[in-house]
Amino acid sequence: MKPLLSIEGLTVELSTRDRTFEAVSDLTFGVSRNEVLALVGESGSGKSMTAMAIMRLLPEPVAEIASGRIMFDGIDLASAGEASLRGIRGNRIGLIFQEPMTSLNPSIRVGPQVAEVLRLHKGLDADAARHRVEELFEQVRIPDPRRRYDDYPHQMSGGMRQRVVIALALACDPDVLIADEPTTALDVTTQAQILETFRDLQASVGAATILITHDLAVVAETADRVAVMYAGRIVEETTTERLFAAPRHPYTHGLLGSIPHVAEAGARERLPEIEGTVPALWALPPGCAFAPRCPRAGERCATERPPLADIEPGHRAACWYPVEAAA
């Protein structure tokens, strides 16, 4: 299937007073209709920067797209003008942020905030917009949507606010949905509720979805495909089933091994560790960025960067010495 959104060689540069460096380097991936792609990584991996670049919401000129294309429906978002971006953002591409108060205006009642988007992008009149918002609130399972319409954001719980943000993102039936850590600020029972709503609505709207998260368990329960990022690059990409069954990049392998799960058996062995720390983006080694922490690294890894290449059909990894595929 042809991807609806395709990112081709995207590089984002950050400039601070002291230096300029790449926060996202030569990123290439696509996401198709009806598909959830997870971008997973730790802080500084470039995952959120990628989302901001796609939406053209980078804090310019501190962060700028240095090269690459972001193709959506024949338009290159990387070079599109502000006028055409305004017609796409929040309309054909919906956004869900980690902290609902990033998206909501604290001084406006939640219903009218969502209605405003519908009037702006869909040209609905006041009555039609209100009616549609109540429908949306019902879809995202806000109890008693009519009464909640007139709540201010602060009168709602964190979980309810995040439901409003999901309603906002879905209001215009977007083709693409970008969710940046949508449940990270929530408690575990609320997270389970929001993830269920998110999955159901994503499936019914059929939007091509990019889910950005640091939580591999959330990925396992939500995504169809996963791209693992490390120090600004994708180091591994494949289907969710494949990634969890047989991770090939030593970083992914180490990460999956080091998380204590609520496991079936209660064995208390020592947790496998990934040694060292995430390198600073402005002081990356010339070869593979993970090499200094990698138990499998050889001489080549220190000097030559491994390209992201197919190591089996539908499974890409950037590693000279990938972990053997499990039987």
Binding site: S43, G159, V188, T189, A217, T240, P260, G266
Partner: protein, 321 residues
């Protein structure tokens, strides 16, 4: 089993403003909580935000005073010990916080941060203290040349190592750790969890490990207590609480935790009902009853007390078996 720490029916109330013209209201942040921790043991304390778990931790290190109940350390009642009387007790109980940035003086050099408790308690001369600091640095995996650095020169994981070194300086018997790894990157969490397990074995430390991450708590804890709206609803051995949860809230919590297993995506996970009620206005009887799938009349009327159940744990549920 000798009790190192015994907490007996502690409660903590806060007065909060209801907003303009609304007057004030009382929140029972912690309501009649009891547990004990033996020497060398880890008790995990879990629950969702606002359940009172951090308030319990703060009362044990006496950052907050309980309104009711007693806290005994090595048999001595320390509930209302004066500041002066607390000093020898502070050597026994130390705390590690979630955000080492908030608990480490940004202008102090790392070596001085670890040395400070030794000076405060008048332990050793300058040379002995320096040797002790060097030992502690080595023990938590920091390099001696890092002693002259200020905290901002350290990564998040290294700062938490520094906080652990400071906590260890006085050779405490109990460390209260409040979300010690939740601010760290995933690849760094395992390092800090392993370090905490290692020093526990080496020094015979006991932990009260307060966290919302059920996987980490399961990994490190001998016993686990689950809190809901200020009360302990279940407490028992880790295996019993995790694999044979007796309280419906514990079951809800365990079921809701996402697992790194893609097969679960296609099976229908039971999703919890409703939301945590406002602690300003908790439901009568069992505070979990509005969300509970098995609640009956008695649950709406009578507050269930902790009692021994079949799994060997204690649960506060009228219907637990």
């Amino acid at each position: 089993m000798t009790g190192l720490l015994a907490v007996e029916g502690i409660s903590k109330r806060f007065t909060v403003s209801r907003g303009i013209g609304g007057g004030t209201a009382t929140v029972h942040a912690v309501d009649d909580v009891s547990f004990s921790i033996a020497a060398g043991e880890t008790l995990g304390l879990v629950g969702e935000s606002g359940c009172g778990k951090s308030t319990v931790g703060k009362m044990i290190v006496r950052l907050l005073e309980p309104d009711e109940g007693r806290i005994r350390l090595d048999g001595a009642d320390v509930t209302h010990a004066s500041y002066r009387a607390m000093r020898p007790l502070r050597r026994k109980v130390q705390m590690i916080f979630q955000d080492p940035n908030g608990s480490l003086d940004p202008r102090q050099r790392a070596g001085d941060i670890v040395e400070e408790p030794l000076i405060v308690h008048g332990l050793g001369n300058a040379a002995e203290r320096r040797r002790r600091v060097a030992d502690l640095f080595a023990r938590v995996g920091l390099r001696p040349d890092q002693m002259g650095n200020v905290p901002s020169k350290f990564s998040g994981g290294q700062r938490q190592r520094l906080a652990i070194a400071r906590a260890l300086a006085l050779q405490p018997s109990l460390i209260v750790a409040d979300e010690p790894v939740s601010a760290l990157d995933v690849s760094i969490q395992a390092q800090v969890v392993n370090l905490m397990a290692d020093i526990q074995k080496e020094f015979g430390l006991a932990y009260l490990f307060v966290a919302h991450d059920l996987g980490v708590v399961q990994h490190i804890s001998d016993r686990v207590a689950v809190m809901y709206l200020g009360r302990i609803v279940e407490i028992g051995g880790t295996a019993a609480v995790y694999h044979r949860p007796s309280h419906p809230y514990t079951r809800t919590l365990m079921e809701a935790v996402p697992r790194p297993d893609p097969a679960r995506r296609h099976s229908r996970v039971r999703v919890p009902r409703g939301e945590v009620p406002s602690p300003l206005d908790p439901p009568p009887g069992c505070t979990f009853h509005p969300r509970c799938p098995i609640a009956t009349d008695i649950c709406r009327r009578e507050r269930p007390l902790l009692r021994r159940v079949a799994s060997g744990a204690q649960a506060a549920c009228h219907h637990a078996e």
